[in-house]
Amino acid sequence: MAGAGAFLIVAAVLNICLGASGVSLAKLWEALISGPGESSASRILWYVRFPRTAATLLAGAGLAVSGAVIQKVLANSLASPGIIGVNAGAGTAVAICCGLGFYSAWAIAGASFLGAVLAAFIVVLIGRRTHASKTMVVLGGVAVTACLSAVTETVITMVPDAALASRDFRVGGFSSVDQSRLVPAGAIILVGIIAVCTLANDLDVLSLGDDTAHTLGLNVRSVRNGMLALAALLAGACVSFSGVLGFVGLIVPHIARRLIGDTSTRLIPFCALSGAGFVALCDLIARMIFAPYELPTGILLSFLGGPFFVWLLLKGKGKRK
């Protein structure tokens, strides 16, 4: 756990200090002590770097915890927030929002949050109607995602400008993050992570199987649906300011499980810390790798996540043999 904390701090400091305009540790310390000032270093730090780094940390922590919860609840190590319709819901809502001519950052953030949460709730409702069966939740997610993707394509076909306007959102990144959008989403993420941490024991009991969990006094349906709802809120809050960042919710819980095991009381906080550090580091690499041009963080994550997913599939095939 201390290692994950140290990783987060190092990644955050590097994300703040490195970039087109480098900032020394001394200047960082001075800016933190004296607060926002008029110097160019202080302005860069307080108005550009701090919000951006905070956004990467919050998105990383939120998506990693959301992924860990979904994988645990559905007992499916290949699950991630996308499987409960979060990305498709957000994408459709943003396409509709842009298609209707609302292009402001606030409109896109609000639409993506609502879209993500609504889609996930539809999937959770399908799960409820089918007695919260794990398989039905996954299949419900596939069906909802397919329907929403069709709606998105229809909107983009009818209003081509919507495709252009929602491009940044669909790719995912932190270049346009601002403090005002970050604060409400950040509050949801922090409260959500604390709630999941305090209920981590329930997740572990749930993973013993429905019958055992029930006879240990756990309300299986309520906990499964409640946890999926929490995961949806976390992921929805993240996509509202970062756009669709694929694979964070898949990669981080996997690596975390390998490092510290599957006990949720340790896994969830570890995922929050390491996920935050991971996205901060990816954002830094995305900014630096083709400097002065900036690669959207979502693209870098896809470069990393695609091969990782293939590796997972091949590893799973070996196990099945």
């Binding site: 024991n201 009991v205 993973s207 199987g209 029930h214 006879t215 240990l216 006094g217 499980r257 599957d262």
Partner: protein, 259 residues
């Protein structure tokens, strides 16, 4: 003491239990036997509210089962299901889950919980294995870990669905000895078993189910020597005495029972 009266359970439109009347006496080992599909698992699941009764009554210590809150019931009855997930956690963490019914928000274990877990691990001979991962244990060791979890749950009643399945002979005997130990500690043990020889040696009370009804109940000798058991299984069942003890034999019906 558990008393079941007129219990009917319908699953997916099929009536599985058709008016079951049975008693599971306190501090004894009760064994439910019967052919496949006779409703054994459904009957014991009803006692845990895992299967919903369409009619009838289940009383636990004189109180209707519906009057128990879910956590209250979990502090009364522990369950070892037939098929179990093997989580990627340590034996100690697994046994700690037995204390879940005693936790309130925000789910922090107290000193008493750790003491109960230490006791349960010691009783099952698992203290040395407490740090091992569950998925690295043998079938017999896993079974003991689940029994330790049930012990940590600190209930009056422990229900086991075919606990000897997948165990070798030595581990089967060890498990039955531990079930006897639990009954000696004042716990009511309810098991489903298929091995009639094991039933003969460990059961204080036997309930024979067939076609969703109780055909016979009583001591092991009474039930295993009854005409109903042959009717239920479609085989001839009887006893013989050897090496100073009674043993059970099973023969296809129509063949003479020569020993």
């Amino acid at each position: 003491m558990i008393k079941i009266s007129g219990l009917r359970v319908t699953l997916d439109g099929e009536e599985i239990l058709k008016g079951v009347d049975a008693e599971f006496p306190a501090e004894k080992i009760s064994v439910v036997i019967g052919p496949n599909g006779s409703g054994k698992s459904t009957a014991i699941k009803s006692v845990l509210r895992l299967a919903e009764a369409s009619s009838g009554e289940i009383m636990i210590d004189g109180r209707p089962i519906e009057s128990y809150q879910q956590k209250e019931l979990a502090r009364k009855v522990a369950y070892l299901p037939q098929s179990r997930n093997v989580p990627d956690i340590s034996v100690r963490n697994m046994v700690m889950h037995g204390r879940f019914p005693y936790l309130s928000y925000p789910r922090r274990y107290r000193k008493e919980d750790h003491m109960k877990v230490d006791e349960a691990l010691k009783m099952m001979g698992l203290t040395e294995l407490a740090g091992r991962k569950m998925d690295t244990l043998s079938g017999g060791q896993r079974q003991k870990a689940y029994m330790a979890m049930a012990l940590a749950q600190d209930t009056d009643i422990i229900v086991m669905d075919e606990p000897t399945t997948f165990l070798d002979i030595k581990n089967q005997l060890d498990l039955l000895a531990r079930a006897r130990m639990l009954a000696g500690m004042g716990k009511t043990v309810i098991m489903i078993l298929h091995d009639l020889e094991a039933v003969l040696h460990c059961a204080d009370h036997v309930i024979l189910l067939s076609g969703g009804r109780v055909l016979k109940s009583g001591t092991a000798e009474e039930v295993l020597s009854s005409a109903e058991i042959s009717e239920a299984f479609g085989v001839a069942v009887g006893f013989y005495t050897a090496e100073g003890g009674q043993h059970c034999y099973v023969k296809p019906q129509g063949q003479s029972a020569r020993v």
